[in-house]
């Protein structure tokens, strides 16, 4: 007997249909599996055998051949346990259902027949819908995640017995659904808020500029001055996520297995803060079993690199291309994977080796030469991707203790939303969404300066000793500041403020 059961696999962050073909014939008992499965797939045999037996079903003592089609694509993980088991049960007519081709199956089996959760549910379920499946049977614990997708029945099952009973019409599994709108509305708040940060008006302004134009930034400040605290709050002033963005972010986290159980949808912009000892692969993704890296996990959110000078130079090197392109491309032997990676980068660095240079209450033990050298280490690959340089000083105790009401994230976010909308309108159909993404040709077109501004910029380069690379970045940031004021043209005060954010290009830091 032959049976065909549909399941799903992953290609990058997208799902694809995998057909599980089971042939059972007379002959010496055997159990073979073909079709480019990895170790987890091969081990599936043992779990399936035990699960079927322990669920009081019959495991045929015959010659069993399983093919996972298409055979040229690599299959990974344990999600094929359930479809393989179902294939055997269907081929031996232990389940009887006419429209089995409308079903998809996903799930790992434990030896006693229970169904265990798997990674990557969301993209797989989306793919199931796109391929016209009407129902999908999957692990209970993945139900919330899957239920985000509508247009097909989500049938969560606890054990293989439940599945058999359902298919044979003995005991139907209830369709599972969640109220997406409700989840979306209720989960959008963050547990940290911009108003937690006291004082630091200039830093906050700079961050609002960064959020408004999706600009990358670097913060320089002594230990404890609040860099981490401030960076952590950047996601809260980024525009609220759209449903599509949330879906995409959830897909990535679903694949990476970083999604908490019983989470339907990630509705908050992610904040990722990898330690400086992180490997290049973990940072950008890839590896033998390809997984999205930190930069993709920070997709549509914030990637925070604390203690930037401590990072390996090669790690910063590999970040370069993804930051430019917004995707990570990983080449495999027979396929190329891409993971999205559109993130706002925020880095932090001490002002000097001992860290106390800007802290007036502590003594800096570095020589002027060392101070000059320390930050010059930053220059190069990454600094060229950074639009805003922000200097953070420790605030005084009286400010920390102040009762003054600081502005809430939601208020800032409202302004940021407005500014982003202006950019989206302007760049419609151009495949970019924000000023930070402007190409040199686009800068020429959208960041025009009048004579007065041109003079100021020329003057600034001359008098402030700005380096040439600052030019385009100043224009982009000036564009954002003008947009924040809903101003069509870049005015002198927009340009001047933009120049303010290039302190690392200047001689201020070369020690005195």
């Amino acid at each position: 007997m032959l049976s065909k059961i549909k399941s799903l696999g992953l290609m990058g962050i997208d799902g694809c249909i995998v057909l599980v073909e089971t042939d059972i014939s007379k002959g010496l008992p055997s159990f073979d599996m073909v079709g480019l499965g990895d170790t987890a797939v091969k081990e599936s045999k043992e779990r399936v055998r035990a699960a079927i037996k322990n669920a009081d079903l019959d495991f045929p003592i015959k010659r069993i051949t399983i093919n996972l089609a298409p055979a040229d694509k690599k299959k990974e993980g344990s999600a094929f346990d359930l479809p393989i088991a179902l294939g055997i049960l269907a081929a031996t007519e232990q389940v009887n259902i006419k429209d089995i081709e409308n079903y998809g199956f996903l799930g790992e089996l434990s030896l006693d027949g229970e169904i265990k959760p798997v990674k990557g549910i969301l993209p797989m379920v989306i793919s199931a819908r796109e391929n016209g499946l009407k129902s999908i049977i999957l692990p209970l614990e993945n139900a919330d995640e899957a239920a985000v997708v509508n247009g097909l029945n989500i049938l969560p099952a606890g054990s293989i017995k439940d599945v058999v009973n359902h298919l044979n019409g003995l005991k139907k599994i209830n369709k599972y659904s969640v109220d997406i709108d409700n989840i979306f509305r209720n989960n959008i708040s963050y547990d940290v808020d911009f108003s937690d940060v006291k004082g630091q008006e200039t830093v906050k302004r700079a961050l609002e500029v960064a959020a408004s134009g999706a600009h990358n930034c670097v913060m320089i400040g002594s230990p404890g001055c609040g860099k981490t605290m401030i960076a952590r709050r950047l996601p809260t002033i980024l525009p609220s996520m759209t449903f599509e963005e949330a879906l995409e972010v959830t897909k990535i986290h679903s694949i990476a297995g970083t999604l908490a159980t019983n989470t339907s949808l990630i509705t908050q912009r992610p904040f990722r803060a990898p330690h400086h000892t992180i490997s290049n692969v973990s940072l950008v993704g890839g590896g033998r079993h390809p997984k999205p890296g930190e930069i993709s996990l920070a997709h549509y959110g914030v990637l925070f690199l604390d203690e930037l000078p401590e990072f390996n130079r090669s790690a910063l090197e590999v970040l370069r291309q993804p930051l430019e392109d917004g995707v990570v491309t990983i080449s495999r032997i027979n396929a190329t994977l891409t993971y999205p990676a559109r993130t706002t980068l925020i880095c932090a660095a001490n002002p000097c080796k001992c860290g106390n240079y800007l802290d007036h209450s502590k003594e800096c033990t570095c020589t002027p030469k060392q101070i000059g050298q320390y930050l010059s280490k930053l220059s190069g690959p990454l600094l060229d991707r950074i639009d805003l340089h922000i200097e953070v000083s420790s605030i005084q105790y009286k400010d920390l203790d102040s009762k003054k009401e600081e502005e809430k994230s939601s208020d800032v976010r409202e302004r940021v939303n407005r500014t982003r909308k202006i950019q989206q309108e302007r760049y419609k159909g151009m495949n970019i969404y924000s000023n930070a993404e402007l190409s040199p040709a686009m800068i020429k077109k959208y960041c025009k300066l009048d004579v007065q501004c041109k003079n100021i910029l020329e003057n600034a380069f001359e008098r402030l000793g700005l380096s040439a690379r600052a030019h385009g970045r100043i224009l982009k940031v000036a564009r954002t500041i003008a947009d924040m004021e809903e101003c069509q043209d870049i005015k002198t005060h927009h340009l001047l403020e933009a120049i303010q954010y290039r302190s690392l290009d200047r001689k201020i830091w070369s020690g005195q």
Binding site: Q200, T202, Q500
Partner: protein, 370 residues
């Protein structure tokens, strides 16, 4: 047209017409030229003039000699600063009896803030070394030290600030063509080079004992505060301290050995409420307080608006530059002080940098550049 300076010189040369009467005359006639041309019967109507004063005012000989004075002034490289000049020190202008004319050798700057360091001519080595040290310290805060170029404390106060390249002003009790005391010739040149010697007396006027108390009111009047380093029981610097109190200036005194006769005056000042100085912070503390009060703010914006350095600046630029006058500030504090938004302050500061007026230090601290 006759040079209008000639009328000012004439006014300051009139015997019996001191600062108070000449202020009253200027109030009435507005300009020395009008006083010069005033009719006798008109002058007679003024209650504050005696008949002798009127006689002097219409005296042709005195009028004629004004021209000679003027020549003499120019010959000696002396500048004339009238009370109507922008450069005339603001604080001095507002005392009860400001000189209507100041004679200046050297260079008076509108942005300078003055603190007087004074004391006895006969001083101990403690007093001399403290005068020197405190002046050095004051220069680090951009303060110009004012003193009287007398022997002892005064000389050391000037020398101290000159040794670190600071600015200093000597207020003299004689004409600027006279070096008094004689041994201070080199010091005087150096003061003129790095500040100014000023006097309300015409060239040729000798250092008469009577001139010195009047001179002292200028020392305190021009300053934000007066520091008395060492003073005996009847030291002239106690007169300066008294003027300072009358003029509403801060009075500081350095505590001394209670057995030393050179410190009885200063110790008594402290007992009577002068601020005791044991370190530079004691001075800055008081001065900063008066800097932040409203008067002072007006003083700065007012004077900045007239300053050549700030000629091409707009209102916001002046306000921001002004609040950097007292000390370098973090950008957040500039925004707080001026009430301007961060984005406005950001852009104005870069503009001021481009204009060469302020300088940015690491950590977004800004300071005036001059």
């Amino acid at each position: 047209m006759v040079d209008n300076k000639q009328y000012w010189v004439w006014l300051s040369s009139l015997p019996g017409i001191g600062a108070v009467k000449s202020k009253a005359l200027l109030n009435h006639f507005e300009d020395p030229y009008n006083i010069w041309n005033a009719k006798e019967n008109e002058l007679n109507k003024l209650p504050f003039l005696t008949s002798k004063d009127v006689g002097n005012l219409i005296n042709i000989k005195i009028k004629e000699s004004a021209k000679i004075h003027l020549d003499n002034i120019f010959k000696n490289n002396i500048k004339i600063l009238t009370i109507n000049d922008e450069l005339y020190p603001y604080y001095l202008k507002n005392i009860y009896d400001p000189p209507s004319v100041l004679y200046v050798k050297g260079d008076i700057r509108i942005n300078d803030k003055y603190i007087a360091v004074v004391g006895s001519r006969k001083a101990t080595s403690y007093g001399l070394s403290m005068a020197h040290t405190i002046s050095c310290e004051l220069s680090r805060y951009g303060i110009t030290v004012v003193s009287g170029m007398a022997r002892g404390i005064d000389s050391y106060a000037h020398k101290g600030i000159l040794s670190v390249g600071g600015r200093t002003i000597a207020v003299l009790g004689c004409g600027l063509d006279i070096v008094y005391p004689n041994e201070n010739k080199k010091l005087m040149d150096s003061i003129i080079e790095n500040g100014a010697c000023v006097s309300e007396y015409l060239p040729g006027i000798a250092p008469l004992a009577n001139n010195f108390p009047a001179r002292n009111r200028i020392i305190s009047g021009i300053s934000l505060g007066v520091i008395v380093i060492e003073a005996g029981e009847r030291s002239g610097s106690l007169i300066t301290a008294n003027f300072a109190l009358d003029q509403g200036r801060e009075v500081f005194a350095l505590p001394g050995n209670v057995c030393s006769i050179n410190s009885t005056g200063t110790n008594r000042l402290i007992k009577e409420g002068a601020k005791m100085v044991t370190g530079i912070e004691d001075i800055l503390e008081e001065i900063n307080i008066s800097f932040s009060n409203e008067n002072m703010e007006n003083f700065f914006t007012g004077s900045f608006a007239n300053d050549k350095l700030f000629k091409d600046l707009d209102k916001e630029e002046i306000k921001i530059a002004s609040c950097l006058k007292t000390e370098p500030l973090h950008i957040d504090n500039i925004s707080k002080k001026t009430g301007f938004s961060i984005q406005l302050v950001s852009s104005v500061l870069i503009m001021l940098e481009l204009k060469g007026i302020v300088e940015q230090l690491p950590g977004k601290i800004y300071k005036l550049k001059y």
